[in-house]
Amino acid sequence: MTSPAVHIRGLRKTYVVSRQEAGARATVVDLVRRRMQEVRAVDGISFDLAPGEVVGFLGPNGAGKTTTLKMLSGLLHPTAGEVTVLGRVPWKREKAFLRQITLVMGQRNQLVWDIPASHSFELNRAIYRIPQEDYRRILGELTDLLELGPLLSKPVRNLSLGERMKCEIAAALLHRPSVVFLDEPTIGLDVTMQRRIRTFITEYNRRFGATVLLTSHYMADVEALCKRVVVIHHGWLLFDGDLSVLVQQFTQHKTIVVQLGDCDADLKAYGDVVSCSDGRATLRVPRSETAHITERLLADLPVIDLLIEDPPIEEVIERVFAQGNT
């Protein structure tokens, strides 16, 4: 059993913030005595990542995803709990540790703004002491995978958001880190660009075997990339496992789409009729009865075509979060 690339046990991060209430009387009181309250950003989470895994870290805004990532990359000191990445304690910020990780933050740039990205790349090469040969090779591969060619000589401020993100990702991977933390890398990008970056991450993981922890609140990111998801809400974990299991666990329904000749038949007996047009009916049925109802449909009606689907993942996730709120 190889040791995990990322190991987290009972990780906790609490902030103490001053509490301010509205209203004149409260303002006066505040001047005299500041009330503090504790905010639990991360409230005791535990999970491991095996080397080479690509894991999605899902949660709504403010759930604690970014805080966790910052603790994993050494930017934040945990309040309690145990965390090691590649066997090292992140917040010690040892040079050997920093050389093996990378953090890409979706809305922040490390690239120097007014000059072409190639300058920032060269700077990173010097900072991470990447040998010339390796640098040329990895730059070539990244340029291919991300289609960077024409972008590298333009000042970063002249690039579109998507182009800038691609360059940011490339800059972060030049030193071939074995652990890659991506914090909302596709946020604000158009659908095509999102897809391209997802493809890149998959390909990168396949080629270089890097461990990838990706946070997102876009389901499409997670669906495309990760077999395993970890769901966090209000600072604690709601789920850790296969995406398909998540769907199964949190939905009690399945959707049956059945193509008939017309919509005359009364389908209420089979399940909730969500919609019906041109003979194409969508039914919502209890998960446990799916096989049984399908049998009956096929036996009773002139079915032209039949399809069984899980409900959309968004719906699933919302249900997971809703459950987390209770």
Binding site: G74, L75, H77, R93, R108
Partner: protein
């Protein structure tokens, strides 16, 4: 070591590229550095004129020499890291520096030196023009010229290290402008930028001995002007070296403490 050298070279290229974008800002920066010593040069020349030719042992042409050299020395030793640091912390870009396996000071030194390399030719040209206009009296001994180079280097190090340390204040407060301004006023009075330290009142002269400001600017100027004996010059170099060591220690302590605060709260 070779790794660091590579970093400095790359930072130089980056800074050069950035400066070419910001030509106007460069110009304005230099205007400020020229105007201030020029104003004091003129004021003191007028005083010398009404005072029977000289003030203390500074005649008009001595003042000219003093302030023109001062202009160059101040320019070479100048840093802006205090403002930049506060900006980094406020915008969270310090996080990127913390993710890197090198101490951020290297980038900053490289950036600072690179900027000077680019602007120095212009400053020297301006100094040349001012020399033609004000006719400075400058005839130092060869040994003074020889010692001037290490003195200038040490002055840069003292100023950079101490100002970098001071910049760490941004970890604890957002009101760094007040701290910075206090610092600059002290620097102005105690480093010889308002007037040669020997002309300042006694309390100021005493303070200048124990504080590092003279080591940052005034000392190299006095040295090049030939106003120090050899033993005074060597003592001065020693004092500079001592301040470099103090600066390194303070820097380490402040940076460690700052990072601890930053990683406790995050940004």
């Amino acid at each position: 070591m070779k790794g660091l050298a590579e970093l400095y070279i790359q930072q130089f290229r980056t800074t050069l590229a950035m400066m070419l974008q910001y030509r106007a800002s460069l110009l304005i920066w230099m205007i400020g550095h020229v105007l201030e010593p020029l104003v004091y040069l003129i004021v003191w020349s007028v005083v010398a004129g009404t005072g029977g030719g000289s003030v203390g042992d500074y005649a008009k042409r001595d003042f000219a020499a003093y302030f023109i050299v001062l202009m160059l020395v101040n320019h070479v030793t100048y840093t802006w890291i205090m403002y930049e640091f506060e900006y980094r912390i406020r915008h969270g870009s310090l996080s990127f520096a913390l993710l890197r396996p090198v101490h951020p000071i290297h980038s900053d030194i490289a950036d600072n030196v690179s900027s000077k390399v680019i602007t120095l030719p212009f400053m020297v040209a301006v100094a040349g023009v001012l020399a033609l206009v004000f006719r400075p009296a400058l005839s130092p001994e060869p040994w003074a010229i020889g010692l001037f180079v290490p003195a200038l280097l040490l002055a840069f190090l003292v100023r950079f290290l101490l100002e970098w340390t001071l910049a760490q204040a941004a970890f604890w407060t957002t009101r760094v402008s007040a701290i910075n301004q206090t610092y600059f006023v002290l620097l102005l009075f105690l480093s010889g930028q308002i007037a040669p330290i020997t002309l300042m009142p006694h309390p100021v002269r005493v303070l200048a001995q124990i504080l590092p400001f003279r080591a940052m600017v005034g000392f190299p100027v006095e040295l090049l002007l030939g106003r120090l004996t050899l033993s005074e010059a060597l003592t001065g170099l020693g004092i500079q070296a001592a301040w470099v060591i103090i600066g390194l220690v303070l820097l380490r302590v402040a940076w460690r403490a700052g990072v601890r605060v930053y990683t406790a709260v995050g940004a």
